[in-house]
């Protein structure tokens, strides 16, 4: 295992921390977060996301001024390590203003994402 892989795994959320290799994407879904621009409050609690995320198909389904949350599930094929990454961003025309990235490492949102 190269040192570069080890370093990469430290800086990349989508790299396995045990095997130091890139993980596979198993699920990707976009949600709307009912928080308005200028009033964003960071939440680390899984229950908040379970209760408030609204499933959408595309970015244009999110009303102007509301935050979006992209959820990606990663899985390591070597050690079966799983993570759920939440990318909270503000869609502005063709741009995305990333507000926060939250990683759940213990399957906290598994039941919600089923």
């Amino acid at each position: 295992m190269s040192i570069i892989s080890k370093i990469k795994s430290v800086f990349h959320d989508d790299w396995c921390k045990n095997c130091h290799c890139e993980m596979e994407v198993t699920k990707k879904q976009l949600y709307m977060l009912p928080e308005l621009v200028g009033n964003y409050i960071s939440h680390q609690n899984k229950e908040y996301y379970k209760n408030n995320l609204i499933k959408v198909n595309k970015k244009s389904d999110i009303p102007t001024g509301y935050y979006a949350c992209g959820i990606t599930n990663y899985w390591c094929s070597k050690c079966s390590y799983k993570i759920t990454k939440l990318t909270i961003f503000l869609p502005v025309r063709n741009e995305e203003k990333i507000e926060e990235i939250i990683v759940f490492k213990n399957g906290e949102l598994d039941d919600f994402l089923k």
Binding site: T64, L90, V92, R93, E95
Partner: protein, 198 residues
């Protein structure tokens, strides 16, 4: 709701705001020069009005505006105006009742006059992202949303700075998002207002 033409600046208030402290100061300086050229009274007559005037110019307007803003919001709530969205700009407050198709306006330089207008009086609403410059110099110092009420242009800034920021910077994107949202809500209120009229 009032049908009167909106007035962004009350010139009497603006002039009074600037000139009144100058008059008081001049009067005190004259009193000091004529009756108290030396001593404690002279210091009081020169220093106190000067300091109070500076304080007044720095804080007076904001305090008056803040008090009237709260009063305005209270009055709107009492009248059954549902504030779906309120934007507090530096120079004005815009509050919208989408269902009734009404827009409440309060201006910094006209804080004693409150306007609640029918959204159908708005002929146009748009966003100005302030983009200027070319290539790597492209950026903006101000993002605002604008609307025209009875041929009077109202500009509300959602972002201002003395520096130019790149168009993809967080500040500019937040400003654009706020402005886009307000324009969308104003247009929704305009649609409701036209429906209510029919």
């Amino acid at each position: 709701m009032n049908d009167k033409k909106i007035k962004k600046i009350n010139f009497l208030y603006l002039i009074g705001y600037i000139v009144f402290p100058i008059l008081i100061c001049t009067l005190c300086y004259l009193l000091s020069a004529v009756y108290f050229p030396k001593g404690t009274m002279a210091v009081i007559l020169i220093m106190v009005p000067t300091l109070l005037s500076i304080l007044w110019w720095i804080l007076g307007g904001s305090i008056i505006y803040k008090i009237n803003k709260k009063k305005f919001e209270r009055e709107l709530e009492e009248s059954g105006f549902e504030r779906n969205h309120t934007f507090y700009g530096k120079g004005s407050t815009v509050t919208i009742d989408v269902k009734r198709g009404e827009i409440g306006l309060l201006f910094f330089w006209n804080p004693f006059e409150k306007f609640v207008i029918h959204a159908s009086r708005i002929s146009k609403a748009w966003v100005n992202d302030g983009k200027s410059g070319h290539g790597f110099m492209e950026g903006s110092m101000r993002v605002s949303f604008l609307f025209i009420v009875d041929d009077i242009k109202v500009r509300v800034d959602t972002f201002t700075s003395n520096q130019r920021f790149r168009m993809d910077s967080d500040y500019i994107l937040t400003g654009i998002s706020k402005a886009d949202m307000m324009v969308e809500i104003i247009n929704q209120a305009r649609v409701s207002a036209h429906k209510n009229e029919k």
